[in-house]
Symmetry: D2
Subunit: 157 residues, 4 copies
């Protein structure tokens, strides 16, 4: 089975986070990994899928709604739930590795939910307080990267 | 986006139902549809995925458990939930068309859940009482087939 | 713990089914059972809760939406999900006994989902074809009643 | 409708957190609020329910499993899901106010999931880094208390 990389992050993301998400999606495509996100046409979700699709990757979205007008056009396989943030747990269980590009309440729930199922979690470009918080929660699972290049090294390690 | 065909049916299936499931999976593969099931290594779920994989198709399983020892080896993309039969609704929302090969309590829940989201539903080889029951519930959505060949004609119509 | 009785049925219900739902709700109240439904202000859901509340009972709704304008005013404890019909499985797991007043696609999914967790299921006033269908699926769990009085006898047996 | 207070915290809790959970449960009982937790017989979940039940309160558990041997004996109404941590979202949607006694991965997911639905969140006895993290995520919703007495003042404000 192909490895599945879940890329998480805010709907309203800053430019650096969007670049990181695109580049991780691109990296997944180039390495024959499946790119998974929350599937909507906003922020990190959309940009990670775009990075994967524009580079020949396969993409999966775990949809929070059955309203197709909100779906990213870069999703190959939309898994349709009507669970809103309840689908975040399915995202983390389905991903082999979680990469967070930026932080928001939703992203925080995804990182937190990924800990008990023992997923590897990579945080890119977050502030020290946030990094410390998650490393205290799960010292052996949470890895810190300054940018997508560092994150890719951790993905490979 | 590729069309997604959900193939449903009992864990303990009779030979005719297994043949129908395999052949519908094979048909999906040959027509570039994605084959979706409940993902476990039992009965109709496994046989439909086998029909798809042995003929070059792409397969998705909506997993009821995170216990990987129960997964079918023919699943390309396991979407992991821990929802047991609660995942049946995700199966029906995600599928464009539902094909039932045989009947059981679980299959009945899937057919029933597929009605309100307006999915096309094809029942293969069920008894008259069962066919009547579902056609009364959803006369415009439920189609009856005697075997996989009739079902494929309905899939194409 | 108090026994929990789940009362299920169509949103657009006929008069006889509404009477049965009200009377079963009333019976639960008078016998110190908790009345559980899908929680909305429509059809059988609302009428069963009304029967319970107007007779001093305790009521629980398993809500399919967080839109409170759709909630029945007879719900004491609204359990809020955003799962639409995905919440049907939670309804059946939580109920000790399921009583169906009328039939619809949603009700059929609830009856079907109640079978594997070994719940006792009482069908009131359904047609012969429907009764036969469910009794074939689960002969030892499905009981047939012509009206609420017969259903109450089965509840007590 | 009665107000529902969700009390969250680790399975392996320290003594101070257990005392806070018990006292908040007791306070809910004395003020006719419903006490809600994740429902199991461990840590904060059990202690909060015990505080409520031993003081005449009404308790609800949102169960992550259908294995009843894990249920707290202090749950009046067990809402049965088989969703493991997927039920955390239902806990936060159903609660009017969330009180966290201690922190863990699961608790962090619950706090995070409570933000978007605009719930009031009270953190008791957490370290400064954790308090800062959540206050940055949701400055207008997250309130800090040193102990249960301060938390009760915030509950009342």
């Amino acid at each position: 089975m192909k490895k599945i990389i879940g890329i998480m992050g805010p709907t309203n993301a800053i430019e650096d986070d969007l670049i990181n998400a695109y580049q991780i999606g691109k990296y997944c495509a180039e390495n024959n990994y499946i790119t998974l996100t929350g599937g909507l046409k906003y922020g990190i979700m959309n940009e990670a899928l775009k990075g994967a699709k524009e580079n020949g990757g396969l993409t999966v979205g775990i949809m929070p709604t059955d309203d197709k007008s909100e779906y990213s056009k870069y999703v190959d396989i939309p898994i349709i739930t009507t669970m809103k943030a309840g689908r975040n747990y399915i995202e983390t269980l389905t991903s082999d590795i979680i990469v967070a590009c930026g932080i928001s309440a939703g992203t925080s729930s995804e990182i937190s939910l990924a800990i008990k199922p023992k997923k590897k979690i990579i945080l890119i470009g977050l502030d020290e307080n946030t990094n410390n918080f998650y490393q205290n929660l799960a010292p052996n699972q949470v890895f810190i990267a300054k940018n997508y290049m560092e994150a890719i090294k951790i993905l490979n390690s």
